[in-house]
Structure formats: C-alpha cells, structure tokens
C-alpha cells in the first residue's frame, strides 16, 4: 500500500514537471489549473474541514494582487506617479528589480493577507452559517468597490505591471512553476495538517462548535489561524497572478466575486467537500469543463458555467469523492460488515 502511494505521488510530480514542456501551447491554462487547485484546497480548509463556508476568499486573491504589485513598484518608483501614468512605458524595471520585486511582493502579499484574515475574522467569525457566507461576500464586494474608487492605486483602471524580462515562452513556464510550487506546498501542507491534532480540532468545530468549545478548544483562535493560513496561500497565488496577467483592474480581475470567487466553491463541491483529494479532482474537472465550454459554446459559456454551478449544488453535492466513498467504501479503508449492512436494510 505505502509503496503504491509513493509511486502515485512520484507519478503526479513527474506529470507536473513534464506537462508544460509536453503541451507548450497550453502553458497559461495549466498555470490557471494550478491556481484553481490552490484556491480550491484553501477554500476547503475553512469550508470543508471547519464548516465555515466563506464566499469572500476572493478578497485575499485581490488583495494579494494589489499588495504584490504595489510593493514591487513602490521599491523603485513613486506609486502615485506610476499609476497616474498607467505604466505607460515610461517606467522600466531591470531584471534584478523585477525578480526581487516579484518574490518580495508575493511573500508580503501572503503575509499581509494572513494579517487581514485575522482582522476580518475577528469581526466575522461570530456569524454562523449563511450569515458568515453573506458577510464575507460583502467584505469582498466592498473591497472591490472601494479600491476601484482609490485613485492612488489606479482606481477603476487598475495597475499594469512590467512583462517577464525574457522570452514570453520562458515566462509562461516560469509562472507555471511558480503556481505549481505554491500548489504542491499547499497540498503537502494540508495533508500534514489534517493528520495533526489541529486538523481534528477544526473538524470538531465543523461537527459541533458548542461541544468543541465545551471540550476546551479555543474555537475562535483555531478559526482565525485556519483562515489566516488559507489566506496566506491565496494571497501568494494572487500576487503571482498579478505578474502573470500583466494588467489587472479591481472589479473583474482582482475582486472577481462572481467568477473565481464562486468557482473555488464549486470546484470543492464538485470534487467532494472535506476530503483531501476532492478539491484537486474538482478543480481539474471544473477547469476542463470551463475550457471546453469556452471553445465550443461561444457566447453561452457563462450560462453553461452557471448551469454547472446549479446542477452541482442541487444534484451532486457530495462530489466525486463522496460518490466514490458511497460506491467503493473499501478504497477509503471503511469496512462494511456485509451481515450488519444486510440486517439494517
């Protein structure tokens, strides 16, 4: 069993390394796939494992974009001058400035998002169930609207960033591996985390928060730490996206509440909530569906995506993993006693 698992993981890592070279035309799509995996896995940390369904995780994505961009620009130029010129070619970045700005920006985006998760969480984690979802959705929408009115950071026009200093194809592979590195770290991290005491504690919060509280678990502290960890990774992913996209604006790219903000939830539901592999499988399926509709249902792709959301939520909420667990319980180490099962029927 253990050897099988090692072979499986080695295979996945090998595919990860080979994919961008094997399909050079799909470099950007593959990078986006990793982005979906990152946001789905981190959404599942609070949504699936802790039972707090956030619709506002996209806030960290957008904030990560802005923090990374502003830090990398602010080290070299005055931000107000830069945004008022809309990056119109006057401002050049040397290679060293670009890469150091990129890494510093992405890391600080993660840290900033963690801190903001703790601040927002202190206010919103008292809300339960759907109120938490609506409250966090409100935070994300409000942030987008406020940023689009803030001229110092580019207002509704957004920010343009310098392109990758090198061949565009190398740039694609570079960003693919950045996303893949974050994605693999998220997976390894949550796999480890769910096996620890901490994982059991947040599962206890999901199952019955009052009882968990009574058992001596500091629920608010656990909730804040979990969200801060999720926000760290989403913020980093947002920071990388900012550099990959070259240009972003607040409402449709950064704080894209009705696009990526809802996609991450659907990915998790499609794959299976509260499981390790569910978000990954869901992200892959969703991304495939999205790319296929993009190419073949021209104009109607958003309607098809909306329909997929409704169908997933209404008819297929247990997701792929839940369905498998029901059909093949032995794969998950669940032993079904044939005799008892027959008797209870």
């Amino acid at each position: 069993m253990a050897r099988k698992k090692i072979i499986l993981y080695a295979l996945i890592l090998a595919v990860t390394f080979i994919a961008p070279f094997a399909f050079p035309n799909f470099g950007t799509q593959l990078a986006t796939l990793w982005l979906m995996i990152i946001v789905a896995l981190t959404w599942d940390m609070t949504g699936g494992q802790m039972g707090y369904n956030s619709l506002g995780n996209i806030f960290f994505y957008g904030t990560g974009m802005y923090v990374a961009a502003l830090i990398s620009i602010g080290r070299v130029y005055d931000i107000g001058d830069y945004t008022s010129a809309a990056g119109g070619g006057i401002f050049e970045f040397t290679d060293v400035q670009y890469f150091s700005g990129l890494f510093l920006g992405v890391i600080s985006a993660g840290i900033f998002c963690s801190i903001s998760a703790v601040l927002i969480g202190t206010l919103t984690f008292g809300l339960r169930g759907p109120y938490f979802a609506i409250g966090t959705l409100g935070v994300a929408i409000a942030a987008g609207e406020l940023v689009s009115n803030w001229d110092w950071v580019g207002g509704g026009q957004g920010i343009s960033l310098p392109g990758y200093p090198g061949h565009p194809d190398t740039g694609k592979i570079f960003f693919y591996f950045l996303f893949a590195a974050v994605g693999v770290s998220v997976f390894v991290f949550v796999k480890w985390l769910y096996g620890t005491r901490f994982g059991s504690a947040i599962n206890a919060i999901r199952d019955d928060e009052e009882k968990a509280d009574a058992m001596g678990i500091h629920t608010l502290r656990y909730k804040l730490i979990t969200w801060a960890m999720a926000a760290f990774f989403v913020g980093m992913a947002g920071g990388i996206s900012a550099f990959q996209l070259l240009h972003f604006e607040p409402l449709e790219t950064a704080y894209q509440t009705i696009f990526l903000g809802i996609f991450m939830v659907v990915c998790v539901l499609l794959g299976g909530k509260g499981t390790l592999w569910g978000p990954v499988i869901g992200a892959i399926l969703f991304h495939l569906f999205k790319e296929v509709t993009w190419n073949y249902f021209l104009g109607w792709q958003w309607v098809a995506l909306g329909a997929l959301i409704v169908v997933t939520v209404v008819y297929f909420q247990d997701g792929v993993m839940g369905w498998l667990m029901h059909k093949r319980p032995e794969w998950f180490g669940i032993k079904v006693e044939e005799k008892i099962a027959r008797e209870t029927k």
């Binding site: 409250g135 939520v313 209404v314």
Partner: protein, 303 residues
C-alpha cells in the same frame, strides 16, 4: 477629502437640499422595500435565502423595456412583468428551489447564486450590456426655485409600488392562499396535518416573490436605469433590509427599505455617486455587525 467637506457644508447651507435627498431616497427605498418583502416572504415560508432576488428585479425591468421597444404603452409593462416573472419564478422553483428547501442554508444560498449568474448572463446575451431605461415622457415638477425636482414618472412609480404592496398585504391577510402561506411559515408540518398542500404553497410563494420583484423591476426601468449585472446589488440591499428588520416584520421592512434608500442617497451625495454600491455593501456589514453584538449580549457563557 475637500470634496467631501464641501458636499457636507452644502447640506448645512442649503437645508432644502436635504429635502430633495430624502425624497429621492424614499422613492428609491420604496422599490427596495418591495424586493425585500419578497425575500422575507420566501425566507420566512421556505427558509431559502434567495440571492437571485436582484436578477428577478432586473428581468422584470427587461420585460417592460422589451414591450416598450415593441410599441406597447409603458404602464402596461408593470402587470406584464408581474405575469411573466410569475411564470419564470414557477419554473425556477420547480427546477432548482424545490430541491434545496430541505437542505442546509448554504446549499440554497449557492444554488440561487448560480441561478443569479445564469440569469444575468442570459439577459446579457439577449439584451446586451448597455444600460437601458424607459422614458414615460412626463414632465418634472419643480419646487423651491428648482432645487427640489420630482419627475412625475417617479411619483407614478412610487404610487404603483405602494398599491402593489397594499394589494399583496390584503391578499396575505384575507385570502385562503394567504392564510395557507402564513400557516406554512408558522409550522410547515402542522400545516400539512391540517390538509394544506405545502408543496403548492411553496411553489405559489416563490412565484409570488418573483412576480413582486418583476413588477418592482418594471417600475425601476421607468424611473432609473437597468443593466444585466446590476442584479447582485439589489439582492444585497434586500438582504440588508431583511437582516435589519427581521422576518415577518412588515412595518420594519418598509421602514428599513425607506431608511436604506435615504442613507444611500446621502452617501452618494457626500462621497460621490461612484461610492453608491460600496455604501450598500458597507451597510450590510454594519447591520451584520450590529446583529452580532446584540446576539453576543444574549449569549450566556460560563466563565
């Protein structure tokens, strides 16, 4: 910042401007209150939080706009939108809502969010993404040297909204179906035992909600503008109003609706029109936080 201060001082120097803002706010707030009443109805009766509420409003607006484009009189749009949206609401209930009633609240929230995205995109494909409105061609009344202006179209809109609200209230109070709806809201199981077909009541309630929203949208298109993606802000306003007023509290819904209309107009006047959406959402957060603090006072903890 200077802009904000000068806007504030304008309010103090010319008190009459306040009157204009309050009147505008009440006229808009009446329409918010209609959509919020529909939300409270669905929320209270079947415990579904409908995020597609705003898109029903916008769809009703497009029904009316489409009729005017094809040469029908504009005032016909309101009853037409009521009927068409009744049908759309019924279809939405049968396909989606009926399957999420028994599920947890996040499911219905997400399912209606998906529905909202679908409806917005379909309207975008059918009618384009430009803002649209219907011009009734009536005059505008001016008071106080033209500082306070009331377009007659807006007055008609408010009157129609009020009469629709009164009609719905009378229906809920006195008709058999209205009684059945209220009984189901109180205790669905007991209502079933007493011979009420709750499934029918649910379908009726959701269709009625959708029809009310449609009529509100048909009024909005006469006095304001609509656009396929404006829906979500109406849904959020409806949430603010219902969360602030509580379920089953009709005077509260009306007061909160008018209050939010006025607050938003003040915000738009002081901070600029581009902050209007942000103000609506920030009001939501404010209301949620106030509720949270109230509940924390009620929560009893052993220390």
């Amino acid at each position: 910042m200077d802009q904000v201060l000068s806007n504030l001082s304008l309010l103090v120097e010319f008190p009459i401007v306040n009157l204009k803002i309050v009147l505008d706010g009440i006229m808009i707030g009446a329409l918010f209150a209609l959509a919020a009443y529909g939300l409270a109805l669905v929320w209270g009766v079947m415990n579904v939080k409908n995020l597609a509420q705003g898109d029903f409003v916008i769809a009703g607006g497009y029904v009316s706009w489409w009729l005017v484009q094809h040469g029908f009189p504009a005032l016909l749009g309101v009853p037409a939108a009521f009927i068409v949206m009744w049908g759309i609401g019924w279809v939405a209930y049968k396909l989606v809502i009926s399957r999420v009633i028994e599920r947890d609240l996040f499911t219905s929230l997400l399912a209606t969010f998906g529905l909202a995205i679908m409806m917005a995109q379909i309207m975008n494909l059918l009618f384009g993404s430009d803002t649209q409105s219907v011009d009734l061609g009536y005059d505008t009344l001016y008071f106080f040297d033209g500082i306070v202006n009331i377009p007659i179209a807006k007055l008609i809109g408010v009157l129609m909204a009020a009469s629709l609200a009164v009609g719905v209230i009378i229906f809920m109070k006195s008709s058999r179906m209205g009684q059945a709806i209220r009984a189901t809201a109180q205790d669905a199981r007991a209502a079933r035992v007493m011979g009420i077909d709750t499934e029918k009541v649910y379908a009726f309630t959701f269709s009625l909600n959708s029809a009310i929203c449609g009529a509100a949208g048909a009024i909005i298109v006469m006095v304001w503008v609509i656009q396929p993606f404006y829906g979500i802000s109406y849904a959020i306003r409806a949430f603010v109003i219902v969360t602030a007023a509580g379920l089953g509290n009709l005077p509260g819904v009306i007061a909160a609706g008018l209050g939010i209309g006025v607050l938003e107009q003040y915000g738009a006047h002081i901070f600029g029109i581009s902050y209007q959406q942000a103000i609506a959402v920030l009001l939501l957060l404010l209301v949620l936080l106030i509720r949270l603090i109230q509940q924390q006072r009620n929560r009893q903890v052993l220390k």
